[in-house]
Amino acid sequence: MLFSSITFLFLFLPVVLAVYYLVPGRGKNIFLLIASLFFYAWGEPVYVVLMILSIVLNYFCGRDIWEKKDDPRRAKLSMAFAVTVNVLILGFFKYYGFLIDTINAIFSVDIPYRELALPIGISFYTFQAVSYIVDIYREKAEPQKNILYFALYISMFPQLIAGPIVRYVDVEAQLRHRQLSVRRLGQGSMFFIIGLAKKVIIANTAGAVFEQISQMPAASLSVLTAWVGAFSYAFQIYFDFSGYSDMAIGLGKMFGFEFKKNFDYPYVSKSITEFWRRWHISLSTWFREYVYIPLGGNRCSVSRNIFNLMVVWTLTGMWHGAAWNFIAWGVYYGVILVLEKYVWGEPLDRLPSAVRHIYTVVLVLVGWVFFFSPSLGYALRYLGAMVGAGAGIVDANGAFFLFTHWLLYVVAVLGSSAMGMRLINMVIRMVRNRKAKTAVAAVIYMGIFVISIAFLVTDTFNPFLYFRF
Protein backbone atom coordinates (compact mmCIF):
# COMPACT_ATOMS: atom_id res chain seq x y z
CA MET A 1 0.00 0.00 0.00
CA LEU A 2 1.35 3.41 -0.93
CA PHE A 3 1.21 6.34 1.50
CA SER A 4 0.23 8.41 -1.51
CA SER A 5 -2.84 6.35 -2.37
CA ILE A 6 -6.49 7.07 -1.80
CA THR A 7 -6.93 3.75 0.04
CA PHE A 8 -4.20 4.61 2.50
CA LEU A 9 -5.19 8.25 3.02
CA PHE A 10 -8.92 7.86 3.37
CA LEU A 11 -9.34 4.34 4.70
CA PHE A 12 -6.30 2.67 6.23
CA LEU A 13 -4.77 5.65 8.06
CA PRO A 14 -7.96 7.10 9.60
CA VAL A 15 -9.15 3.67 10.76
CA VAL A 16 -5.76 2.67 12.19
CA LEU A 17 -5.31 6.04 13.92
CA ALA A 18 -8.80 5.98 15.43
CA VAL A 19 -8.49 2.43 16.74
CA TYR A 20 -4.92 3.06 17.95
CA TYR A 21 -6.02 6.02 20.07
CA LEU A 22 -8.94 4.03 21.47
CA VAL A 23 -6.96 0.90 22.36
CA PRO A 24 -5.64 1.13 25.92
CA GLY A 25 -2.02 0.78 27.11
CA ARG A 26 0.01 -2.12 25.84
CA GLY A 27 -2.67 -3.08 23.36
CA LYS A 28 -1.45 -0.17 21.21
CA ASN A 29 1.75 -2.01 20.29
CA ILE A 30 -0.12 -5.18 19.39
CA PHE A 31 -2.64 -3.28 17.33
CA LEU A 32 0.09 -1.32 15.53
CA LEU A 33 1.88 -4.60 14.79
CA ILE A 34 -1.29 -6.14 13.31
CA ALA A 35 -1.88 -2.99 11.24
CA SER A 36 1.74 -3.08 10.04
CA LEU A 37 1.54 -6.72 8.98
CA PHE A 38 -1.72 -6.01 7.18
CA PHE A 39 -0.14 -2.98 5.48
CA TYR A 40 2.77 -5.11 4.24
CA ALA A 41 0.61 -8.09 3.28
CA TRP A 42 -1.59 -5.77 1.18
CA GLY A 43 1.21 -5.52 -1.36
CA GLU A 44 3.27 -8.58 -0.46
CA PRO A 45 0.90 -11.39 0.56
CA VAL A 46 3.63 -14.00 0.08
CA TYR A 47 6.66 -12.14 1.37
CA VAL A 48 4.98 -11.16 4.62
CA VAL A 49 5.82 -14.73 5.67
CA LEU A 50 9.49 -14.10 4.92
CA MET A 51 9.43 -10.98 7.06
CA ILE A 52 7.80 -12.84 9.95
CA LEU A 53 10.40 -15.61 9.68
CA SER A 54 13.15 -12.98 9.68
CA ILE A 55 11.63 -11.37 12.78
CA VAL A 56 11.48 -14.62 14.75
CA LEU A 57 14.94 -15.68 13.57
CA ASN A 58 16.50 -12.37 14.66
CA TYR A 59 14.60 -12.37 17.92
CA PHE A 60 16.17 -15.70 18.90
CA CYS A 61 19.57 -14.73 17.51
CA GLY A 62 19.51 -11.63 19.73
CA ARG A 63 18.66 -13.68 22.79
CA ASP A 64 21.34 -16.25 21.95
CA ILE A 65 24.03 -13.55 21.67
CA TRP A 66 22.98 -12.03 25.00
CA GLU A 67 23.06 -15.39 26.76
CA LYS A 68 26.64 -15.86 25.57
CA LYS A 69 27.91 -12.40 26.50
CA ASP A 70 30.11 -13.79 29.27
CA ASP A 71 32.01 -15.80 26.68
CA PRO A 72 33.19 -13.24 24.07
CA ARG A 73 34.29 -15.84 21.54
CA ARG A 74 30.93 -17.62 21.51
CA ALA A 75 29.03 -14.35 21.54
CA LYS A 76 31.05 -13.19 18.52
CA LEU A 77 30.39 -16.45 16.69
CA SER A 78 26.68 -16.13 17.42
CA MET A 79 26.66 -12.51 16.19
CA ALA A 80 28.59 -13.51 13.04
CA PHE A 81 26.07 -16.27 12.40
CA ALA A 82 23.12 -13.88 12.68
CA VAL A 83 24.71 -11.19 10.49
CA THR A 84 25.76 -13.78 7.88
CA VAL A 85 22.25 -15.27 7.69
CA ASN A 86 20.70 -11.81 7.28
CA VAL A 87 23.19 -10.81 4.61
CA LEU A 88 22.74 -14.13 2.79
CA ILE A 89 18.94 -13.77 2.71
CA LEU A 90 19.24 -10.19 1.45
CA GLY A 91 21.97 -11.16 -1.00
CA PHE A 92 19.98 -14.08 -2.34
CA PHE A 93 16.89 -12.04 -3.16
CA LYS A 94 18.78 -9.06 -4.40
CA TYR A 95 21.83 -10.37 -6.23
CA TYR A 96 21.52 -13.99 -7.28
CA GLY A 97 19.90 -13.18 -10.64
CA PHE A 98 22.48 -10.47 -11.24
CA LEU A 99 25.28 -12.89 -10.36
CA ILE A 100 24.07 -15.56 -12.81
CA ASP A 101 23.46 -12.93 -15.53
CA THR A 102 27.04 -11.73 -15.02
CA ILE A 103 28.41 -15.29 -15.23
CA ASN A 104 26.31 -15.89 -18.37
CA ALA A 105 27.66 -12.71 -19.94
CA ILE A 106 31.32 -13.27 -19.03
CA PHE A 107 31.55 -16.93 -19.98
CA SER A 108 29.01 -16.84 -22.83
CA VAL A 109 26.93 -19.56 -21.20
CA ASP A 110 23.20 -19.76 -20.64
CA ILE A 111 22.61 -20.89 -17.09
CA PRO A 112 18.84 -20.82 -16.51
CA TYR A 113 17.52 -19.55 -13.21
CA ARG A 114 14.29 -18.81 -11.42
CA GLU A 115 13.57 -15.10 -11.17
CA LEU A 116 12.18 -13.94 -7.86
CA ALA A 117 10.56 -10.60 -7.18
CA LEU A 118 12.48 -8.53 -4.66
CA PRO A 119 10.51 -8.41 -1.39
CA ILE A 120 9.59 -4.77 -0.81
CA GLY A 121 11.51 -3.18 2.03
CA ILE A 122 13.86 -6.15 2.54
CA SER A 123 16.96 -3.93 2.33
CA PHE A 124 15.55 -1.68 5.03
CA TYR A 125 14.26 -4.23 7.50
CA THR A 126 17.34 -6.43 7.10
CA PHE A 127 19.58 -3.47 7.97
CA GLN A 128 17.41 -2.75 11.01
CA ALA A 129 17.72 -6.38 12.11
CA VAL A 130 21.51 -6.28 11.69
CA SER A 131 21.73 -3.09 13.74
CA TYR A 132 19.73 -4.84 16.49
CA ILE A 133 22.01 -7.90 16.43
CA VAL A 134 25.27 -5.90 16.47
CA ASP A 135 24.06 -3.47 19.14
CA ILE A 136 23.21 -6.42 21.40
CA TYR A 137 26.64 -7.91 20.76
CA ARG A 138 28.23 -4.55 21.59
CA GLU A 139 25.98 -4.40 24.67
CA LYS A 140 24.59 -1.06 23.58
CA ALA A 141 21.14 -2.58 23.91
CA GLU A 142 19.56 -5.51 25.68
CA PRO A 143 17.57 -8.03 23.67
CA GLN A 144 13.87 -7.32 23.51
CA LYS A 145 12.06 -9.79 25.75
CA ASN A 146 8.67 -9.33 24.14
CA ILE A 147 8.70 -10.80 20.62
CA LEU A 148 5.68 -8.69 19.66
CA TYR A 149 7.56 -5.49 20.52
CA PHE A 150 10.53 -6.69 18.51
CA ALA A 151 8.22 -7.56 15.62
CA LEU A 152 6.82 -4.05 15.83
CA TYR A 153 10.33 -2.57 15.68
CA ILE A 154 11.09 -4.47 12.47
CA SER A 155 7.73 -4.15 10.76
CA MET A 156 6.39 -0.74 11.86
CA PHE A 157 4.54 0.39 8.77
CA PRO A 158 5.55 4.08 8.72
CA GLN A 159 9.19 3.20 7.99
CA LEU A 160 8.96 -0.42 6.83
CA ILE A 161 9.00 0.02 3.07
CA ALA A 162 11.59 2.72 2.44
CA GLY A 163 13.07 3.76 5.74
CA PRO A 164 14.41 5.73 7.43
CA ILE A 165 16.52 2.88 8.81
CA VAL A 166 15.74 3.14 12.52
CA ARG A 167 18.34 1.77 14.92
CA TYR A 168 16.96 -0.28 17.77
CA VAL A 169 18.81 1.77 20.39
CA ASP A 170 16.96 4.86 19.16
CA VAL A 171 13.47 3.42 19.70
CA GLU A 172 14.02 0.85 22.44
CA ALA A 173 12.53 3.06 25.14
CA GLN A 174 9.73 4.28 22.85
CA LEU A 175 8.60 0.71 22.23
CA ARG A 176 7.87 0.43 25.95
CA HIS A 177 6.46 3.87 26.57
CA ARG A 178 5.70 6.91 24.43
CA GLN A 179 3.72 10.07 24.77
CA LEU A 180 0.66 10.77 22.66
CA SER A 181 -0.71 14.26 22.44
CA VAL A 182 -2.86 16.40 20.21
CA ARG A 183 0.15 18.65 19.60
CA ARG A 184 2.27 15.72 18.42
CA LEU A 185 -0.57 14.44 16.27
CA GLY A 186 -0.80 17.88 14.68
CA GLN A 187 2.96 18.06 14.10
CA GLY A 188 2.88 14.59 12.59
CA SER A 189 0.06 15.58 10.25
CA MET A 190 2.03 18.63 9.10
CA PHE A 191 5.12 16.51 8.36
CA PHE A 192 2.93 14.01 6.54
CA ILE A 193 1.20 16.64 4.40
CA ILE A 194 4.50 18.25 3.42
CA GLY A 195 5.86 14.82 2.48
CA LEU A 196 2.75 14.01 0.46
CA ALA A 197 2.99 17.31 -1.41
CA LYS A 198 6.69 16.73 -2.12
CA LYS A 199 5.83 13.35 -3.64
CA VAL A 200 2.67 13.98 -5.63
CA ILE A 201 3.13 17.62 -6.65
CA ILE A 202 6.86 17.96 -7.23
CA ALA A 203 8.41 14.47 -7.55
CA ASN A 204 5.75 13.01 -9.84
CA THR A 205 5.70 16.10 -12.09
CA ALA A 206 9.48 16.22 -12.33
CA GLY A 207 9.41 12.47 -12.92
CA ALA A 208 7.03 12.90 -15.86
CA VAL A 209 9.48 15.36 -17.49
CA PHE A 210 12.41 13.04 -16.83
CA GLU A 211 10.55 10.06 -18.23
CA GLN A 212 9.92 11.83 -21.53
CA ILE A 213 13.54 12.92 -21.81
CA SER A 214 14.94 9.52 -20.82
CA GLN A 215 12.93 7.87 -23.60
CA MET A 216 14.76 9.90 -26.23
CA PRO A 217 17.98 8.38 -27.60
CA ALA A 218 20.93 9.97 -25.77
CA ALA A 219 22.48 10.98 -29.10
CA SER A 220 19.43 13.09 -29.92
CA LEU A 221 19.62 15.17 -26.73
CA SER A 222 20.89 18.72 -26.82
CA VAL A 223 22.99 20.04 -23.95
CA LEU A 224 19.94 21.92 -22.64
CA THR A 225 17.62 18.90 -22.82
CA ALA A 226 20.19 16.63 -21.17
CA TRP A 227 20.67 19.07 -18.28
CA VAL A 228 16.92 19.62 -17.91
CA GLY A 229 16.56 15.81 -17.76
CA ALA A 230 19.31 15.48 -15.14
CA PHE A 231 17.88 18.30 -13.02
CA SER A 232 14.38 16.81 -13.32
CA TYR A 233 15.63 13.45 -12.09
CA ALA A 234 17.57 15.12 -9.27
CA PHE A 235 14.38 16.85 -8.14
CA GLN A 236 12.29 13.73 -8.64
CA ILE A 237 14.49 11.48 -6.51
CA TYR A 238 14.98 14.08 -3.78
CA PHE A 239 11.33 15.01 -3.40
CA ASP A 240 10.22 11.40 -3.82
CA PHE A 241 12.53 9.98 -1.19
CA SER A 242 12.60 12.90 1.25
CA GLY A 243 8.81 13.13 0.82
CA TYR A 244 8.50 9.50 1.85
CA SER A 245 10.82 10.11 4.82
CA ASP A 246 8.77 13.14 5.90
CA MET A 247 5.60 11.05 5.70
CA ALA A 248 7.27 8.27 7.72
CA ILE A 249 8.47 10.73 10.37
CA GLY A 250 5.03 12.35 10.45
CA LEU A 251 3.26 9.01 10.83
CA GLY A 252 5.73 8.08 13.54
CA LYS A 253 4.83 11.24 15.45
CA MET A 254 1.12 10.49 15.07
CA PHE A 255 1.74 7.12 16.74
CA GLY A 256 3.99 8.65 19.40
CA PHE A 257 7.39 7.72 17.92
CA GLU A 258 10.27 10.07 17.18
CA PHE A 259 12.37 9.09 14.16
CA LYS A 260 15.53 10.98 13.29
CA LYS A 261 15.53 13.11 10.16
CA ASN A 262 16.71 11.39 7.01
CA PHE A 263 17.38 14.44 4.83
CA ASP A 264 18.74 17.88 5.66
CA TYR A 265 18.49 19.90 2.43
CA PRO A 266 21.30 18.00 0.67
CA TYR A 267 21.22 20.18 -2.47
CA VAL A 268 22.47 23.21 -0.54
CA SER A 269 25.73 21.34 0.19
CA LYS A 270 29.07 22.87 -0.76
CA SER A 271 30.99 19.62 -1.04
CA ILE A 272 30.20 15.99 -1.69
CA THR A 273 31.28 15.16 1.85
CA GLU A 274 28.65 17.59 3.11
CA PHE A 275 26.10 16.22 0.62
CA TRP A 276 26.42 12.76 2.12
CA ARG A 277 26.01 14.15 5.62
CA ARG A 278 22.65 15.50 4.47
CA TRP A 279 21.37 12.79 2.07
CA HIS A 280 19.79 9.53 3.33
CA ILE A 281 21.32 10.15 6.74
CA SER A 282 20.05 6.89 8.23
CA LEU A 283 21.81 4.80 5.56
CA SER A 284 25.10 6.72 5.90
CA THR A 285 24.88 6.36 9.67
CA TRP A 286 24.25 2.63 9.34
CA PHE A 287 27.26 2.12 7.07
CA ARG A 288 29.45 4.26 9.35
CA GLU A 289 28.42 2.35 12.49
CA TYR A 290 28.34 -1.19 11.14
CA VAL A 291 30.90 -1.25 8.30
CA TYR A 292 33.24 1.77 8.28
CA ILE A 293 34.11 1.87 11.98
CA PRO A 294 34.49 -1.95 12.35
CA LEU A 295 36.86 -1.84 9.34
CA GLY A 296 39.02 0.67 11.20
CA GLY A 297 37.36 3.93 10.14
CA ASN A 298 39.88 6.74 9.88
CA ARG A 299 42.01 5.68 12.84
CA CYS A 300 44.46 3.90 10.59
CA SER A 301 46.95 4.51 7.79
CA VAL A 302 45.95 6.60 4.76
CA SER A 303 45.97 3.57 2.46
CA ARG A 304 43.80 1.58 4.86
CA ASN A 305 41.42 4.52 5.23
CA ILE A 306 41.10 4.80 1.45
CA PHE A 307 40.39 1.07 1.31
CA ASN A 308 37.74 1.43 4.04
CA LEU A 309 36.05 4.29 2.22
CA MET A 310 36.02 2.42 -1.09
CA VAL A 311 34.55 -0.70 0.55
CA VAL A 312 31.80 1.34 2.20
CA TRP A 313 30.90 3.21 -1.00
CA THR A 314 31.00 0.14 -3.20
CA LEU A 315 28.63 -1.54 -0.73
CA THR A 316 26.45 1.58 -0.67
CA GLY A 317 26.17 1.38 -4.45
CA MET A 318 25.39 -2.34 -4.30
CA TRP A 319 22.76 -1.78 -1.61
CA HIS A 320 20.83 0.36 -4.07
CA GLY A 321 20.50 -2.39 -6.62
CA ALA A 322 21.91 -5.36 -8.43
CA ALA A 323 23.30 -3.61 -11.48
CA TRP A 324 26.66 -2.30 -12.61
CA ASN A 325 25.43 1.28 -12.82
CA PHE A 326 24.70 1.31 -9.08
CA ILE A 327 28.13 -0.13 -8.34
CA ALA A 328 29.69 2.51 -10.62
CA TRP A 329 27.65 5.17 -8.80
CA GLY A 330 28.94 3.97 -5.42
CA VAL A 331 32.56 3.78 -6.61
CA TYR A 332 32.17 7.26 -8.18
CA TYR A 333 31.23 8.72 -4.79
CA GLY A 334 33.94 6.71 -3.02
CA VAL A 335 36.58 8.20 -5.32
CA ILE A 336 35.27 11.77 -4.91
CA LEU A 337 35.11 11.45 -1.13
CA VAL A 338 38.69 10.12 -1.04
CA LEU A 339 39.81 13.00 -3.25
CA GLU A 340 38.00 15.56 -1.10
CA LYS A 341 39.58 14.09 2.00
CA TYR A 342 43.14 13.77 0.76
CA VAL A 343 43.58 15.93 -2.35
CA TRP A 344 41.35 18.95 -2.88
CA GLY A 345 39.32 19.22 0.30
CA GLU A 346 41.27 22.13 1.77
CA PRO A 347 41.66 24.15 -1.47
CA LEU A 348 37.95 23.58 -2.06
CA ASP A 349 37.11 25.14 1.31
CA ARG A 350 38.91 28.33 0.27
CA LEU A 351 36.83 28.80 -2.89
CA PRO A 352 33.83 31.18 -2.91
CA SER A 353 30.65 29.63 -1.62
CA ALA A 354 28.88 29.86 -5.01
CA VAL A 355 31.70 28.00 -6.78
CA ARG A 356 31.63 25.22 -4.18
CA HIS A 357 27.89 24.95 -4.60
CA ILE A 358 28.13 24.68 -8.38
CA TYR A 359 30.93 22.09 -7.99
CA THR A 360 28.69 19.98 -5.74
CA VAL A 361 25.57 20.27 -7.88
CA VAL A 362 27.47 19.29 -11.05
CA LEU A 363 29.06 16.25 -9.40
CA VAL A 364 25.74 15.17 -7.88
CA LEU A 365 24.00 15.47 -11.25
CA VAL A 366 26.73 13.37 -12.89
CA GLY A 367 26.17 10.83 -10.11
CA TRP A 368 22.44 10.73 -10.81
CA VAL A 369 23.18 10.01 -14.48
CA PHE A 370 24.96 6.82 -13.41
CA PHE A 371 22.10 6.11 -11.03
CA PHE A 372 19.22 6.41 -13.47
CA SER A 373 20.90 4.90 -16.51
CA PRO A 374 19.86 1.38 -17.49
CA SER A 375 23.46 0.62 -18.49
CA LEU A 376 26.92 2.10 -18.21
CA GLY A 377 26.98 2.68 -21.97
CA TYR A 378 23.82 4.78 -21.77
CA ALA A 379 25.26 6.74 -18.83
CA LEU A 380 28.36 7.64 -20.83
CA ARG A 381 26.28 8.64 -23.87
CA TYR A 382 24.01 10.77 -21.65
CA LEU A 383 27.03 12.43 -20.03
CA GLY A 384 28.34 13.05 -23.55
CA ALA A 385 25.08 14.79 -24.44
CA MET A 386 25.46 16.99 -21.34
CA VAL A 387 28.76 18.31 -22.68
CA GLY A 388 27.66 18.72 -26.28
CA ALA A 389 28.28 15.34 -27.89
CA GLY A 390 24.56 14.86 -28.57
CA ALA A 391 22.42 17.10 -30.76
CA GLY A 392 23.88 20.56 -30.28
CA ILE A 393 23.56 23.08 -27.48
CA VAL A 394 19.91 24.10 -27.46
CA ASP A 395 16.91 22.57 -29.17
CA ALA A 396 13.15 23.00 -29.14
CA ASN A 397 12.63 20.02 -26.78
CA GLY A 398 14.78 21.42 -24.00
CA ALA A 399 13.26 24.90 -24.35
CA PHE A 400 9.77 23.37 -24.35
CA PHE A 401 10.36 21.41 -21.14
CA LEU A 402 11.94 24.42 -19.47
CA PHE A 403 9.24 26.94 -20.40
CA THR A 404 6.29 24.64 -19.74
CA HIS A 405 7.61 23.60 -16.32
CA TRP A 406 9.35 26.74 -15.07
CA LEU A 407 7.03 26.99 -12.08
CA LEU A 408 7.84 23.41 -11.09
CA TYR A 409 11.55 24.22 -11.10
CA VAL A 410 11.04 27.40 -9.06
CA VAL A 411 9.04 25.47 -6.45
CA ALA A 412 11.58 22.63 -6.52
CA VAL A 413 14.51 25.01 -5.96
CA LEU A 414 12.68 26.69 -3.07
CA GLY A 415 11.72 23.30 -1.60
CA SER A 416 15.29 22.01 -1.91
CA SER A 417 16.44 24.60 0.62
CA ALA A 418 15.05 25.77 3.94
CA MET A 419 13.51 28.70 2.03
CA GLY A 420 10.31 26.79 1.20
CA MET A 421 9.45 26.03 4.83
CA ARG A 422 10.61 29.51 5.86
CA LEU A 423 8.08 31.02 3.44
CA ILE A 424 5.24 28.91 4.87
CA ASN A 425 6.23 29.78 8.45
CA MET A 426 6.56 33.47 7.55
CA VAL A 427 2.96 33.55 6.34
CA ILE A 428 1.78 31.80 9.53
CA ARG A 429 3.75 34.23 11.73
CA MET A 430 2.23 37.26 10.03
CA VAL A 431 -0.71 36.76 12.36
CA ARG A 432 0.01 37.71 15.99
CA ASN A 433 -2.91 36.09 17.77
CA ARG A 434 -2.10 32.49 18.76
CA LYS A 435 -5.49 31.06 17.86
CA ALA A 436 -5.53 32.90 14.55
CA LYS A 437 -2.01 31.59 13.89
CA THR A 438 -3.26 28.03 14.39
CA ALA A 439 -6.19 28.72 12.08
CA VAL A 440 -3.91 30.13 9.35
CA ALA A 441 -1.58 27.13 9.68
CA ALA A 442 -4.55 24.77 9.43
CA VAL A 443 -5.82 26.55 6.30
CA ILE A 444 -2.38 26.47 4.64
CA TYR A 445 -1.77 22.80 5.38
CA MET A 446 -5.32 21.82 4.41
CA GLY A 447 -4.81 23.75 1.17
CA ILE A 448 -1.59 21.85 0.46
CA PHE A 449 -3.39 18.59 1.26
CA VAL A 450 -6.31 19.36 -1.07
CA ILE A 451 -3.96 20.33 -3.92
CA SER A 452 -2.00 17.09 -3.32
CA ILE A 453 -5.21 15.05 -3.49
CA ALA A 454 -6.16 16.81 -6.72
CA PHE A 455 -2.80 15.75 -8.19
CA LEU A 456 -3.24 12.27 -6.78
CA VAL A 457 -6.62 11.51 -8.31
CA THR A 458 -5.51 12.61 -11.78
CA ASP A 459 -2.20 10.77 -11.56
CA THR A 460 -1.30 7.29 -12.77
CA PHE A 461 0.24 4.62 -10.52
CA ASN A 462 3.43 6.15 -9.17
CA PRO A 463 5.28 4.05 -6.61
CA PHE A 464 8.13 5.57 -4.62
CA LEU A 465 11.52 5.23 -6.32
CA TYR A 466 13.13 3.74 -3.22
CA PHE A 467 10.62 0.85 -3.08
CA ARG A 468 12.81 -1.07 -5.50
CA PHE A 469 15.83 -0.88 -3.20
Binding site: V46, L53, C61, P112, L116, A117
Partner: protein, 161 residues
Protein backbone atom coordinates in the same frame (compact mmCIF):
# COMPACT_ATOMS: atom_id res chain seq x y z
CA UNK B 1 17.25 -21.98 34.20
CA UNK B 2 19.76 -19.84 32.32
CA UNK B 3 21.12 -22.93 30.53
CA UNK B 4 17.59 -23.90 29.54
CA UNK B 5 16.93 -20.45 28.01
CA UNK B 6 20.26 -20.51 26.24
CA UNK B 7 19.48 -23.85 24.70
CA UNK B 8 16.02 -22.71 23.69
CA UNK B 9 17.26 -19.59 21.85
CA UNK B 10 20.13 -21.56 20.33
CA UNK B 11 17.84 -24.30 19.02
CA UNK B 12 15.13 -21.93 17.89
CA UNK B 13 17.47 -19.85 15.74
CA UNK B 14 18.41 -22.96 13.78
CA UNK B 15 14.77 -24.04 13.56
CA UNK B 16 13.93 -20.60 12.14
CA UNK B 17 16.82 -20.83 9.70
CA UNK B 18 15.53 -24.20 8.43
CA UNK B 19 12.00 -22.79 8.10
CA UNK B 20 13.33 -19.75 6.22
CA UNK B 21 15.27 -21.93 3.78
CA UNK B 22 12.19 -24.14 3.31
CA UNK B 23 10.09 -21.06 2.60
CA UNK B 24 12.56 -19.79 0.02
CA UNK B 25 12.55 -23.19 -1.70
CA UNK B 26 8.74 -23.14 -1.77
CA UNK B 27 8.50 -19.68 -3.29
CA UNK B 28 11.17 -20.65 -5.82
CA UNK B 29 8.94 -23.55 -6.81
CA UNK B 30 5.60 -21.78 -6.85
CA UNK B 31 6.08 -18.05 -7.40
CA UNK B 32 9.31 -17.58 -9.31
CA UNK B 33 9.63 -16.54 -12.91
CA UNK B 34 12.45 -17.56 -15.18
CA UNK B 35 15.08 -16.05 -17.40
CA UNK B 36 13.92 -18.12 -20.40
CA UNK B 37 13.24 -16.03 -23.52
CA UNK B 38 9.67 -14.82 -23.78
CA UNK B 39 9.34 -16.58 -27.14
CA UNK B 40 9.96 -19.95 -25.46
CA UNK B 41 7.23 -19.36 -22.87
CA UNK B 42 4.90 -17.97 -25.54
CA UNK B 43 5.51 -20.99 -27.76
CA UNK B 44 4.74 -23.42 -24.93
CA UNK B 45 1.50 -21.67 -24.00
CA UNK B 46 0.25 -20.86 -27.51
CA UNK B 47 0.81 -24.41 -28.78
CA UNK B 48 -1.41 -25.73 -26.02
CA UNK B 49 -4.33 -23.41 -26.77
CA UNK B 50 -7.54 -24.57 -28.33
CA UNK B 51 -6.86 -23.10 -31.76
CA UNK B 52 -10.45 -23.67 -32.98
CA UNK B 53 -11.95 -21.00 -30.80
CA UNK B 54 -9.07 -18.63 -30.12
CA UNK B 55 -7.36 -16.24 -32.51
CA UNK B 56 -4.10 -14.38 -32.03
CA UNK B 57 -4.80 -10.67 -31.55
CA UNK B 58 -2.82 -7.61 -32.59
CA UNK B 59 -1.20 -4.95 -30.43
CA UNK B 60 -4.10 -2.66 -31.34
CA UNK B 61 -6.56 -5.18 -29.93
CA UNK B 62 -4.45 -5.48 -26.74
CA UNK B 63 -4.57 -1.69 -26.46
CA UNK B 64 -8.32 -1.59 -27.06
CA UNK B 65 -9.23 -4.32 -24.58
CA UNK B 66 -6.69 -3.66 -21.81
CA UNK B 67 -5.71 -0.05 -22.40
CA UNK B 68 -2.03 -1.02 -22.49
CA UNK B 69 0.59 -0.42 -25.17
CA UNK B 70 2.37 -3.52 -26.46
CA UNK B 71 5.64 -1.64 -27.00
CA UNK B 72 5.87 -0.84 -23.28
CA UNK B 73 6.46 -4.51 -22.45
CA UNK B 74 9.14 -7.09 -23.12
CA UNK B 75 6.57 -9.41 -24.67
CA UNK B 76 2.82 -9.71 -25.21
CA UNK B 77 0.82 -12.70 -26.39
CA UNK B 78 -2.92 -12.15 -26.62
CA UNK B 79 -5.47 -14.65 -27.87
CA UNK B 80 -9.21 -13.98 -27.83
CA UNK B 81 -12.26 -15.72 -29.17
CA UNK B 82 -13.23 -15.01 -32.74
CA UNK B 83 -16.89 -15.02 -31.65
CA UNK B 84 -18.21 -11.92 -29.94
CA UNK B 85 -20.55 -14.05 -27.83
CA UNK B 86 -17.62 -15.84 -26.20
CA UNK B 87 -15.69 -14.55 -23.18
CA UNK B 88 -12.67 -16.74 -23.82
CA UNK B 89 -9.26 -15.08 -23.89
CA UNK B 90 -5.69 -15.83 -22.89
CA UNK B 91 -3.06 -13.19 -22.19
CA UNK B 92 0.63 -13.50 -21.46
CA UNK B 93 2.72 -10.41 -20.71
CA UNK B 94 6.38 -10.12 -19.83
CA UNK B 95 7.14 -6.82 -18.14
CA UNK B 96 10.47 -5.02 -18.22
CA UNK B 97 10.50 -4.35 -14.50
CA UNK B 98 8.51 -5.43 -11.46
CA UNK B 99 7.07 -1.92 -11.15
CA UNK B 100 4.99 -2.67 -14.29
CA UNK B 101 3.29 -5.69 -12.70
CA UNK B 102 0.77 -3.58 -10.79
CA UNK B 103 -0.38 -1.66 -13.87
CA UNK B 104 -0.91 -4.87 -15.86
CA UNK B 105 -2.80 -6.48 -12.98
CA UNK B 106 -4.96 -3.38 -12.66
CA UNK B 107 -5.73 -3.56 -16.38
CA UNK B 108 -6.66 -7.23 -16.07
CA UNK B 109 -8.98 -6.52 -13.14
CA UNK B 110 -10.62 -3.70 -15.11
CA UNK B 111 -11.00 -6.00 -18.12
CA UNK B 112 -12.64 -8.70 -15.96
CA UNK B 113 -15.05 -6.16 -14.52
CA UNK B 114 -15.94 -4.82 -17.96
CA UNK B 115 -16.45 -8.30 -19.43
CA UNK B 116 -18.61 -9.31 -16.51
CA UNK B 117 -20.81 -6.28 -17.13
CA UNK B 118 -20.99 -7.19 -20.84
CA UNK B 119 -22.34 -10.68 -20.19
CA UNK B 120 -24.22 -10.19 -16.95
CA UNK B 121 -27.93 -10.96 -17.22
CA UNK B 122 -28.04 -12.95 -20.42
CA UNK B 123 -25.03 -15.30 -20.58
CA UNK B 124 -24.55 -16.84 -17.12
CA UNK B 125 -22.10 -19.45 -18.44
CA UNK B 126 -19.79 -16.69 -19.72
CA UNK B 127 -20.07 -14.85 -16.40
CA UNK B 128 -19.10 -18.08 -14.63
CA UNK B 129 -16.02 -18.42 -16.87
CA UNK B 130 -15.04 -14.84 -16.08
CA UNK B 131 -15.48 -15.41 -12.37
CA UNK B 132 -13.29 -18.51 -12.64
CA UNK B 133 -10.59 -16.69 -14.59
CA UNK B 134 -7.04 -17.68 -13.77
CA UNK B 135 -4.37 -15.06 -13.06
CA UNK B 136 -0.78 -15.70 -12.16
CA UNK B 137 2.29 -13.53 -11.67
CA UNK B 138 5.57 -15.41 -11.89
CA UNK B 139 8.53 -13.05 -11.72
CA UNK B 140 8.17 -10.77 -14.72
CA UNK B 141 5.60 -12.98 -16.48
CA UNK B 142 1.90 -12.36 -16.06
CA UNK B 143 -0.64 -14.92 -17.18
CA UNK B 144 -4.38 -14.45 -17.49
CA UNK B 145 -6.96 -16.84 -18.93
CA UNK B 146 -10.73 -16.93 -19.24
CA UNK B 147 -11.48 -20.37 -20.60
CA UNK B 148 -13.00 -23.72 -19.64
CA UNK B 149 -9.39 -24.95 -19.89
CA UNK B 150 -7.97 -22.08 -17.83
CA UNK B 151 -6.50 -24.45 -15.22
CA UNK B 152 -4.80 -26.54 -17.89
CA UNK B 153 -3.34 -23.42 -19.56
CA UNK B 154 -2.14 -22.14 -16.21
CA UNK B 155 -0.31 -25.41 -15.54
CA UNK B 156 1.35 -25.29 -18.95
CA UNK B 157 2.41 -21.70 -18.29
CA UNK B 158 3.90 -22.67 -14.91
CA UNK B 159 5.74 -25.65 -16.42
CA UNK B 160 7.09 -23.55 -19.29
CA UNK B 161 9.05 -21.30 -16.92
Amino acid sequence: MKTERLKYAYIMKYVMLVLTVAFVVLIMMYTSGSNKPFEAVEQAVSSSLDQDGLEKQSGASFKREFGLTEADYAGVMYYASEFSMSAEEVLLVRVHSESQVAEVMEAIEARLEARKNDFEGYMPEAVKLIEDARKSVRGKDIFFAVSPKADEYLNIFAESL
